[in-house]
């Protein structure tokens, strides 16, 4: 093992000297997370591309040439990776500081900024003389860097950040028989030092002169409370005695004073202001978990179908002498793509030229590439442009635009600044995210798509086309209230019982803004504001996490991500002079359990004297409580899954929807034309509409298929109804035991007590709303035709309620569709979906989906006339179909139905799509609209 390393160092040095002038972009996450697999040094576009590619898959690409065979053989790179990094820490330091200085030199023009910087550095100098030296030397070198970049390398390496921390060791924790310094350190200070040896004693001497690096700080320890020690810091002195692995254990054992002065040297962090990001998914791979494919596999597929995502820049990063071919490509995915990457000059020119000429950014263009059409969508930001290219036969141009828009707004949401993302962001994560989004947008076959979830693709695709919204699970009020209660309990953060004394009196760092609960990818309830809910939906949809939960349990899923956009939003508001608001950062935490997701939006307050590098970690208590909240849903008293499954599969709970089969007009060919003119001719139809009918051969097939499906469903339902009976019994039991009216609910992980009594009768009450709604119909409707009532003669076929905040309610649900097994209905629903999509474009509703800049491109009804006057509030289309009856060939059946979309402005913008029979009375329709069709 030693020999290869020698060669590594040699070749690396060689490389470094070669690249002394090179534009060496480097992304490093020194403070990367524990559960984060994406620790990678992706070398800049300059260094050998192919080599970097092959290694970036393994998370290692820093020293591309050097690492042949050594690292790659090891799969669990976590340990070895770090070892190698430390091994090269000296060189890295140089590179980092050089990089930093280069960046600094760019900012030299902004004098004010530099002044601030110096001021800060001087302030630091008060604390430590050494630091001030470093700071001035840095300032000197940065000013010199403009003329002589080479000279920086020698000076820049000296720049260090030193911090002294006084800690009182917890001697009482020592048992006395600790052998290693690591163990003692952990017990005394709560600091875990990274152990290189990994139990292999024979290697230890190799690491003798390595640095002592903090691997982690134990939550709640003294060191943690000081808040100043972070992962990656190097311990250099204890009580002003230089420390190394040689004397580490002895030094620690010799400590007896009440306070120990630890001196740390923090590494210079390049890259984004590290926020502690966690994305845990099953199988530790986002792509593998959600699509069942490896990233490399998806990359290949995408290359095959002419897809590429590129971030191109016009600004020459440096005035490097050696110009590389790929310099304008800041980011490209998939990496192997060549045909479209070669065309990037076209994209850059087009977007920048358009900006120069017409002053408006390019939005999309079309290319003819090898006889196949290719759509290109652009997102301009300054001199840079983000380009998505997708094949025209798989995706429409407008939906490509939507994909790009949602992607860019996700980046803005997560990182605040769109431009810096591609330079600094973790590329493995970015690769995976784009791979996922492309895969979903192109509807490539996924090995995860199981046959059990055959939905109506049109309806489904129409709904997923908007990444900001999710479907709503129409739970009965009682159940929804219960969920709300449980979430409220969690939101109150009444965890005092679970906190130890030290934490109890600390200022609370985290405040929950709101939560939302999902079951199998459907929204149950949300306590978030509309904008925030949309953002959370966007995050979950883009990561495909919602669909993941719809077919498998997501116990492993845990997400912790900062929403930087919210922080920058706060700063934009101008505050009165003298008032400096507390720096708040917002985080999204998603906890998965069974089929549930609990999405929590958390505000973390930072007082100004806290260091900015301070990482916001997920508070274990919060995570545990989140899980406990979800587990609470599963307790016998709540058994929310049952209720959810019930409303997913049961067809009788909702407002009963009519079956188009029963409303067909039967007539012989002779009077066919005559009856067409008669709008109300269907009045007599329901009486003779008893004949079952199928429209076409295809419909016939569909019917057979649907029937076989429904048989399965029936079995399941029988089973679940048996279970239901059992549970009813149990619930009765629990009512007796918990019968007291106990409203105090601070024990958040305990069984929820306040709900029992009310829930006993819930199954019978489930339909109360829908029933009351139907009563309205009966009262109003019976007098005329009685169409929009319950039952088979219902004139209401389908409805979709779009509400960005509350989610999307679709009726009939998938299982209802399967149950009714009619070819005609399938056709009607299919058509309904397409028509809804059209109407949605017309209704201008989606203008809010994107930022103001894109609003112009939306299908505005009329540009020359006052826009306010022409925004469409309601749009409808009457469809009619006629077909031969299967029994009597001479009989022609026809059906006419309306598809109407309406914008509801107040209390909040919502969109309602309805499909009903043409004979429905107008006042009934109006009533139904005002009641929201039972939503």
């Amino acid at each position: 093992m030693r020999k290869p390393r020698g060669s590594i160092e040699q070749s690396r040095k060689h490389q470094n000297s070669n690249q002394a002038h090179a534009n060496f972009h480097q992304t490093s996450h020194v403070n990367g997370s524990l559960g984060h697999e994406n620790e990678s040094f992706s070398s800049g576009p300059k260094s050998q591309e192919s080599a970097a590619k092959s290694q970036s898959k393994n998370g290692l690409s820093r020293h591309s040439k050097a690492s042949d065979g050594y690292i790659l053989t090891e799969n669990s790179y976590g340990q070895l990776h770090l070892a190698q990094r430390l091994n090269s820490s000296e060189d890295e330091e140089k590179i980092k500081s050089r990089d930093a200085i280069r960046q600094k030199s760019k900012e030299m023009h902004q004098k004010s900024k530099e002044m601030q910087q110096r001021l800060r550095e001087r302030q630091g100098g008060v604390r430590s003389k050494k630091q001030s030296n470093a700071a001035t030397s840095e300032a000197n070198s940065s000013s010199a860097s403009l003329s002589a970049p080479a000279s920086i390398n020698s000076k820049g390496g000296k720049e260090r950040r030193i911090k002294h921390i006084l800690l009182s060791p917890e001697y009482r924790f020592l048992s006395g028989n600790e052998t290693s310094g690591v163990e003692i350190c952990q017990k005394l200070f709560g600091i875990t030092v990274f152990e290189y040896s990994n139990g292999k004693a024979d290697r230890q001497h190799v690491y003798r002169d390595r640095k002592l690096v903090v691997q982690g700080v134990i939550e709640g320890s003294k060191a943690f409370l000081s808040g100043n020690i972070s992962r990656g810091d190097m311990l250099i002195r204890i009580n002003d005695v230089d420390v190394s692995w040689r004397n580490f254990t002895q030094l620690l054992k010799a400590q007896h004073k009440r306070e120990v002065r630890l001196t740390f040297q923090s590494p210079k962090i390049i890259g984004p202001k590290s926020s502690y990001t966690v994305l845990q998914v099953p199988e530790a791979d986002l792509c593998l978990a959600t699509l069942g494919k490896r990233l490399a596999h998806i990359q290949e597929e995408l290359i095959h179908c002419n897809c590429v995502a590129m971030y191109l820049t016009l600004t020459q990063a440096t005035n490097d002498t050696e110009l590389d071919q790929m310099e304008d490509v800041v980011y490209a995915f998939p990496p192997g793509e060549e045909v479209l990457t070669a065309l990037r000059g076209l994209f850059i020119t087009l977007s920048s030229a358009l900006m120069d000429v017409v002053g408006q950014p390019a939005i999309r263009s079309h290319l003819q590439l090898n006889n196949s059409e290719v759509h290109v969508a652009y997102k301009q930001c300054g001199r840079d442009v983000l380009v998505f290219v997708m094949p025209g036969n798989r995706i429409s141009a407008s939906s490509l635009e939507n994909v790009l828009n949602s992607f860019s707004s996700l980046l803005v949401l997560l990182f605040g600044d769109f431009q810096s993302v591609f330079q600094d962001c973790d590329r493995v994560w970015l690769d995976k995210l784009i791979a996922l989004m492309f895969h979903c947008a192109l509807q490539l076959p996924s090995s995860r798509l199981q046959s059990g979830l055959v939905q109506y693709p049109r309806l489904a695709s129409m709904l997923t086309s908007n990444p900001y919204s999710v479907r709503l699970l129409g739970l009965p009020n009682k159940d929804k209230l219960l969920c709300d209660e449980i979430l409220n309990e969690f939101e109150s953060m009444d965890f005092d019982d679970y906190l130890n004394d030290a934490e109890l009196f600390l200022r609370r760092k985290y405040v929950i803004r709101g939560t939302s609960l999902y079951y199998k990818g459907l929204l149950i309830t949300t306590h978030l504001q509309e904008e925030q809910q949309r953002d959370v939906n966007l995050f979950l949809n883009c990561h495909n996490l919602l669909s993941l939960s719809s077919w498998q349990e997501v116990n492993q899923v845990f997400v912790w991500h900062e929403f930087k956009q919210y922080a920058s939003q706060n700063t934009r508001i101008s505050f009165p002079v003298g008032y400096k608001p507390c720096v708040t950062r917002s985080f999204l935490m998603v906890v998965g359990l069974h089929y549930y997701y609990l999405a929590v939006l958390i505000d973390a307050g930072w007082s100004p004297h806290d260091s900015q590098d301070q990482q916001a970690r997920p508070l274990p208590l919060l995570v545990d409580q989140g899980r406990a909240t979800l587990e609470q849903l599963q307790t016998d008293e709540v058994h929310m899954s049952q209720c959810c499954e019930e409303s997913l599969t049961n067809t009788n709970l909702d407002v009963a929807l009519g079956n188009p089969d029963h409303l067909c007009v039967h007539h012989s060919p002779r009077n066919r034309l005559a009856s067409r003119d008669l709008a109300a001719s269907s009045k007599s139809s329901s009486s003779n509409a008893k004949l079952p009918l199928t429209s076409t051969k295809m419909a016939n097939d569909a019917q057979v298929f649907a029937r076989s499906k429904s048989v399965d469903r029936m079995d399941e339902r029988d089973f679940s109804s048996q279970q239901e009976a059992n549970l009813m019994m149990r619930r009765h039991g629990s009512k007796h035991s918990y019968g007291s009216n106990d409203s105090g609910g601070s024990g958040s992980s305990g069984p929820s007590k306040q709900s029992k009594g009310s829930r006993v009768s819930s199954t019978t009450d489930l339909t109360s709303i829908s029933r009351s709604l139907s009563v309205v119909y009966i009262d109003k409707g019976m007098a005329t035709i009685g169409r929009l009532t319950r039952g088979h003669d219902n004139g209401l076929f389908s409805y979709v309620h779009l509400d960005d905040n509350a989610g999307i309610l679709v009726a009939p649900t998938d299982s209802q569709v399967l149950e009714q097994h009619s070819g005609l209905q399938a056709e009607v629903l299919d058509n309904f979906a397409v028509a809804c999509h059209r109407l949605k474009c017309f209704l201008n509703f989606s203008s809010k989906d994107f930022e103001d800049g894109d609003e112009k491109t939306k299908a505005t009804f009329l540009s020359c006339v006052d826009r306010k006057e022409t925004s469409i509030k309601e749009a409808g289309t009457l469809f009619s179909c006629s077909f031969q009856s299967s029994h009597d060939k001479r009989q022609i059946c026809s059906l006419s139905y309306w598809v109407v979309g309406r914008v509801v402005e107040s209390p909040r913008p919502q969109l309602l799509f309805v499909c009903f029979h043409e004979s429905a009375d107008q006042c009934m329709v109006e009533t139904a609209f005002s009641l929201g069709f039972g939503t």
């Binding site: 429409s396 067409r676 003119d677 709008a679 056709e827 009607v828 299919d830 058509n831 397409v834 028509a835 059209r838 017309f842 009804f861 009329l862 020359c864 006339v865 006052d866 306010k868 006057e869 022409t870 925004s871 469409i872 509030k873 309601e874 749009a875 409808g876 289309t877 009457l878 469809f879 009619s880 179909c881 006419s896 107008q922 329709v925």
Partner: protein, 305 residues
Amino acid sequence: MRTREYENMTVCFQLVDFLLQQAASPLFSDLTAAVDVLMVSEASVLQPFIEALAEAAESPYGCLLVGGRIVVATDRWWVLTARELTLLSTLLMSLPECSARDVPVYLPHGSPTVPHRLLTFELLRNVMACVICGPSPPLSELEREIGRFWMPAVETLKSVRKTLPRNIPHSIEVDANILGFILINTSTHRCLNSVSLIGASGRGQGEEQACQEKRRAVLRSFYTMVVGSYFNRGGEKSGESSGPSELSHQPTDTYIVCSGHKCYAHTSGKYQIFVLFAAKTPTFAMRSVTHKTLNLVVKDKSSPL
């Protein structure tokens, strides 16, 4: 060489200008690919006149245009394809007014290589008779005959001209809520339209003009919205995936409701009707009103469609 081509092109400048300002044009033919017609009760009276003129010009092609809309035409004129019909009326609208002219035209389908002569004569202001003929007779010869041919019809022409802003006879009463409509026959490629059904009541000329232009713009955009997404474009089979073929059932009616107005479109057989309603119209009434209007116009004896 270049100057000659330039000279050849100068003929088209008027047309190009006209095409550029098409949104302001009172015609819908550019949008609907159907030629604008005028519905008048005197059509049968005028038919012999135009046939006589065509005969005198030794040509089967003759038509009478009032305000750019065809009132009557010979049978052979109607045999021209929709494209030729719309191009001809567009050309005639674009040319400056003059008492008589002789323009060489190529008919894209009939004679794409050999030019024909398009002779036009202004009978009254806004009233124009035109024939397409071969090398003879010369314009001057025919011009001398014009007075003799059309003198007996002057009164009729004057009354025909009076229908002009309304485009349908005053005898046909449409619902008061209808502000304007486009009625298209997709098989004969004729299009009847109007945006001033109610007489200008007490409003100034300019105000009325602006009002009409706005209605026209709304109708135009409603047409673009509906055709291609719900209705088939007249005559052409849409092969696009995003067109009406994507829908599994045939859309027959569609409407939109805006704060300023309501629009309703209906298609039945070869007819497509697009109606602009006042905002106060009840939504549920639009369907029956539209159907009635369609029947009223189509079933009328004098219907030009």
